[in-house]
């Protein structure tokens, strides 16, 4: 029995190390930045982030985005440095122990214009043992669509309080996107869709099926 458990664990470890290898190599030595000064500055920034325990993959991705978009060396350095600062800020806002994905989502939310206190509120409104990535991502998308952050937060936290699941939160974002594509104003789309999810959450049948995953744990 124990052997059976160890084999999948070993396989998972090997797979994890294989999939992580290109990323690590990219982050440390083979960033395709032609300018030596820029490459060194970005590598230093990544090393500094790593030493602080911050996720480095978003920094590598940001540098790659700059390279692909033919940004100047100065722009790439500034972008990576700003992102490192946002990651640090997001980690503090999502304390005590956010995952790398949560920190990255928090940093993106800040970049999109979600005010820092709201990032904190989203964390507080979501069960502490569940990843807050999806609520943060949907909040980011709604704000990027031009919906006032306070209204988006109000709708999201109402759904969270009623026990919405991550997939329901995500569906809210997709539905708003479809409505906007169909010509509805973003905030009107949010109102309509949030009410739709809310009505589902209020129904006894849905409540029963959603409760185990979505409700806040008892304090």
């Amino acid at each position: 029995m124990n052997m059976h458990r160890r084999v999948p664990t070993l396989v998972a470890l090997v797979l994890a190390s294989v999939s992580a290898a290109p990323l690590l190599a990219q982050g440390t030595s083979v960033l395709p930045i032609a300018d030596v000064k820029t490459r060194s500055a970005v590598q230093r920034e990544i090393a500094r982030a790593e030493s602080k325990g911050l996720p480095t993959q978003p920094l590598v991705a940001k540098a790659m985005e700059g390279v692909t978009k033919q940004a100047t060396g100065e722009q790439i350095r500034d972008a990576v440095s700003s992102l490192a600062k946002r990651l640090e800020q997001a980690r503090a806002l999502l304390a005590p122990s956010p995952s790398a994905a949560e920190v990255a989502s928090g940093a993106d939310a800040l970049r999109a214009g979600v005010p820092a206190p709201m990032v904190k509120k989203i964390r507080a409104a979501w069960p502490a043992d569940q990843s807050v990535v999806m609520p943060l991502d949907v909040m980011t998308e709604l704000v990027a669509r031009g919906i006032p952050a306070s209204r988006a937060l109000e709708r999201l936290t109402s759904l969270m309080a009623k026990g919405a699941t991550p997939s329901q939160i995500a569906a809210l974002g997709s539905s708003v996107q479809s409505d906007v594509a169909a010509g509805l104003a973003p905030d009107a789309a949010l109102e309509v869709r949030a009410r739709g999810v809310m009505s589902l959450l209020n129904s006894p049948a849905a409540g029963a099926s959603l409760a185990p995953t979505g409700q806040r744990p008892p304090r």
Partner: protein, 388 residues
């Protein structure tokens, strides 16, 4: 003068894209033909026109801190005019996020003008810009000297202007005060002067309107000149031009109208009709026909839940190269496949948030039109999509 006006518009154009995220070195060659008529010349007082050949080269070299613009032009008009002209201008932003920019430049020309003598011109200019996203203002000064035969003529100009953008329409309005001693230049325009030694003082008001659609543009320039001292006349001049980008590297440029005498650059008044071909060289050609590129991105949920298939569709010509990139590809460009009239990419993604960009022919990265847009830290934007 046409070339200087073009350079001015180029500098304004560069200012509107001051972030320069997509700025690349560029070399353009231009060749064309023109028909010129100078009102004070010819057997019947300006009724005689002459044909001209035009050759030009333009080079832009952007760096992180400044952009160098240089251009050279050679004009030869049968029986009336031959000129070689060079311009070098340095555009210096005061900082990456500053709204201020200083342009400094020098220009020189040698010419042989029928009725206006052989000689040369040299001038230097400085212009201070204040640039916002959709508008700006500038003030500048130019000092020049022109040698015509054995006589040196001085000229200077001070100008103030502002420009604004309303969607596809760009407009600028400027006022210039000019001082000159070049009597011969005005006489070739058929103008009556109070004396032959000057000085002459003029005031020009110029309105420029430009319609831009992707790399194409139509420009109209209306100039009103009034004398202040040394002569008594007023003139109006209208000049129109259009640029049609035929391929990613080749553009057709045409123009017609009147150019007033320019004492600062030593160029005579002329009525001009011109057509030329411009070829862009360099590492990356201009993006072509952006307006014909319409991109959409949607997510089809995968059976069984968790993740989805991102489908990006770009309605664009078959002969264009179309790519998509984003976090999902670590921003490595992924070529799209042709399906009917569309370029399509289908990418399986896990649940999460993704930034996406689409580009055609190595042009700027754009967000698909139906997605939320976020600034990308490089002066551009990315589309944002959340996969349930």
């Amino acid at each position: 003068m046409i070339r200087h006006a073009a350079l001015g518009l180029l500098l304004i154009g560069a200012a509107t894209r001051s972030v320069a995220a997509q700025a690349l070195p560029e070399v353009r060659l231009e060749a064309g033909a023109a028909r010129l008529r100078q009102p004070g010349l010819g057997a019947r007082g300006g009724e005689e026109a002459s044909d001209a050949a035009l050759f030009g080269i333009f080079w832009r070299l952007p760096t992180e801190r400044w952009t160098l613009y240089t251009s050279g032009n050679l004009t030869y008009a049968r029986d009336s005019l031959a000129a070689a002209q060079g311009v070098a201008a340095l555009s210096l932003p005061w900082g990456r996020r500053s709204n201020f920019r200083t342009d400094l430049g020098v220009a020189g020309a040698v010419f042989s003008l029928s009725g206006a003598g052989d000689g040369g011109n040299t001038n230097g200019f400085a212009r201070q810009h204040y640039v916002l996203e959709n508008g700006g203002a500038w003030g500048g000064a130019t000092a020049a000297t022109t040698l015509r035969g054995t006589r040196w003529n001085a000229a200077s100009a001070f100008d103030l202007g502002g420009w604004s953008r309303f969607g596809f329409l760009y407009g600028s309005l400027s006022l210039s005060r000019l001082y000159a001693t070049d009597a011969l230049l005005f006489e070739t325009a058929g103008l009556l002067l109070e004396n032959e030694s000057g000085p002459f003082e003029f005031q020009d008001a110029q309105l420029v309107l430009q319609l831009r659609g992707g790399p194409h543009d139509i420009t109209a320039s209306l100039t009103r000149r009034q004398t202040i001292a040394g002569a008594e006349f007023s003139q109006n001049a209208l000049y129109g031009s259009a640029t049609l980008q035929l391929t990613d590297r080749v553009a057709l440029i045409g123009g017609a109208g009147r150019q007033l005498a320019d004492p600062v650059r030593g160029l005579p008044q002329a009525d001009i009709i011109t057509a030329s071909l411009r070829v862009s060289l360099g590492p990356k050609p201009l993006p072509v026909m952006q307006r014909s590129t319409i991109a959409d991105a949607t997510v089809e949920p995968l059976a069984g839940g968790g993740g989805g298939e991102l489908v990006v569709r770009v309605f664009s010509a078959e002969w264009l190269e179309v790519e998509v990139a984003g976090d999902f590809s670590e921003w490595r460009p992924v070529p799209m496949e042709r399906e009917g009239s569309y370029w399509v990419a289908r990418i399986r993604l896990r649940s999460g948030k993704y930034h996406i960009g689409v580009r055609t022919n190595q042009g700027p990265w754009r967000a698909p039109r139906n997605l939320a847009r976020v600034r990308d830290d490089f002066g551009g934007e990315s589309g944002l999509i959340v996969v349930p």
